[in-house]
């Protein structure tokens, strides 16, 4: 887990510089400060458990086992990226690792999670769908429709609210009628827990408990209180919070907390952790080299993967629609 958390941190720090250099386009939402949440929760998932999250997805993607290379390549829009360069930062996914994205419309992936859990339940699988979302997503209708549906249909979903205290620049207190997101689960009679989101060991324990609860009793909402050290995205002037507040939270750096835990134990020495950090640094540089030297998507990729099925053939003539779409 230490490797993973440091990897998320270093990869994103590198991504931030690449963004400033203009090599990464679009939006870039950094997970820095929240690493303990994704790492701790995904540490306890079983291979059959699906994971889905919102647009702040680099950390969750890496925790699901996607390589730093594939993540970085997607950020650079390359053909070797997780989504062949068509998704970008907000749309990482790897179905082989049971990671179902990376979704950029706030709240919209919660119904998707419900539907995937419905499919698993229908097939008699014991898989749980772990759905991460931010505090901001709990004010939109999707959240309420999905929590309600998961309860009435008894769907195996672990709803994980990453409460980082701000939906973009609006604080939870200003945006939500209740400041504890777990209270919203009460309205649906859903078991819930609010816990510490900066200490990865506490996160892991809470996730273990709640995942077991989902497998035995159905949906559960786990709220984890965390903090993003960087802006909402790269273009955030951060007028809504003071640097004192950010600094205070940074003293609770999840990587620092975990490192202190590990160093306090008898088995792990500080130089081993340093060696781990050095390995991460190499991994990130390798990912950047890989991404930069990877090919861009071929021009003909533009028309690929829009549909699974080709249009029906019409012998002896070409329809204007097919010309317009340029489909092969």
């Amino acid at each position: 887990m230490y490797h993973e958390m440091v990897l998320v941190r270093r990869l994103e720090e590198r991504a931030a510089t690449l963004y400033q250099e203009g090599k990464i386009g679009g939006f870039l939402h950094l997970y820095i400060g929240q690493e303990a949440v994704g790492t701790g929760v995904i540490a306890v998932r079983q291979p059959q458990d699906r994971v889905i999250t919102a647009y702040r997805d680099h950390g969750v993607a890496l925790s699901c086992g996607i390589s730093a290379r594939a993540v970085m390549a997607e950020l650079l829009g390359k053909a070797t990226g997780t989504s062949k360069g068509k998704g970008g930062s907000m749309h990482l996914a790897d179905v082989k690792r049971n990671f179902w994205g990376g979704h950029a419309i706030v709240g919209a992936h919660l119904p998707l999670a419900a539907g995937m859990a419905l499919a698993d339940k229908y097939r008699g699988s014991d898989a749980v769908t772990i759905c991460f979302f931010g505090d901001g997503a709990t004010n939109i209708g999707y959240f309420h429709e999905s929590l309600n549906l998961s309860m009435i249909w008894h769907l195996p979903v672990l709803w994980v609210c990453e409460n980082n205290l701000y939906g973009m620049g609006t604080s939870v207190e200003r945006a939500s009628a209740v400041s504890q997101i777990r209270q919203k689960a009460e309205g649906y009679g859903m078991p819930n827990e609010r816990g510490e989101g900066m200490d990865v060991l506490q996160v892991r324990q809470a996730a273990e408990r709640s995942l077991a609860a989902v497998r035995s009793d159905g949906p559960f909402l786990l709220e984890l209180v965390t903090y993003r050290f960087r802006g909402h995205s790269m273009g955030d002037p951060e007028r809504y919070r003071t640097s004192d507040e950010v600094q205070k939270w940074q003293e609770n750096d999840p990587i620092g907390i975990f490192r202190r835990h590990l160093s306090a134990g008898p088995q792990i020495k500080a130089d081993e952790l340093d060696a781990e950090e050095a390995r991460v640094a190499d991994e990130v540089e390798d990912a950047v080299r890989f991404a930069e030297s990877s090919p861009a998507p071929a021009p003909e990729e533009l028309f690929q993967d829009i549909y699974a099925e080709p249009e029906p053939p019409r012998l002896g003539s070409v329809s204007t629609d097919r010309q317009g779409q340029g489909q092969a």
Binding site: S83, K86, G87, E145, A308
Partner: protein
Amino acid sequence: MPILTMREAISQALWEEMERDERVIILGEEVGVWGGTYAVTKGFYDHFGPERVLDTPIAEGVIVGAANGAAMAGLHPVAELMTINFAFLAMDQIVNHSAKLRSMFGGQFNMPVVIRAVGGGGRQLGATHSQTPDAIFAHFPGLKVVAPGTPQDAKGLLKTAIRSEDPVLFIEHATLYQAKGEVAEGEVLEPIGVAKIQRPGRDVTIVTYSKMLQVSLQAAEQLARQGIEAEIVDLRSLRPLDMQPALDSFRRTNRAVIVEEGWRSFGVGAEVSARLYEEAFDYADAPIQRVAQKEVPLPYNRELEQAALPQVDDILAAVQRVL
């Protein structure tokens, strides 16, 4: 060939596909115990059980969203929207998710979801329950938009849609459920994205679909009595839009009228006539005419509502203008 109503044809398609493939489930408002608000799924709940015929809360976002998620996970869900007007509440799921998840993630997964939606005016349901917004949905690449006008096509196209690995918005016209027509026996499959000549003719090309196919056929009968033979091209799907039969017909008749129930502005007629001009400008012997709904929210009052909807007389007048 047996004569079926549109309702029977659609119901048969669903039933047969559910019998054929366990991955097919139905979810929507009142699809189960009630038997469907248009009685399309009557008897399904008892036969297939509550695991496969799922009554949902009145919450369109999660109806289509859960169908999308189940499709990502490999089921072939059929989500029913009681009316297409409620699809606006699920617009984000349809246009941002059904239509885009496949390409946005580099083709990693398919979206084999069917969204059945009941559209159209003419039942005095007022402005918010009577719309024909088909063209809006046809705007989005990644989605397939199908709107049959005959029981044969309804059955064959719906079965194809359910088997498809792509997302299909399947639009059923509220006033066509009682419409009757011949449906072939045995397995009925119609390809999505292939337009069809529903009536041959040499004098004028009428391009239409869904309910307006029936209205156009009535108009063609009257024209025939005057010695005018209209050729009727049924688009059957708006995306993919197969222009070939319309183009071929227009090159023969040199005259075209496009008939749609939705509003004229930015509509199906605009798209089809633009493509006819782009591909076959030199063949036009008269400006292409469009017949469409008057540009007003549909009123409740029966006479006013009918005055706003395209009628046989509107088609006859448009044909006179191109002859």
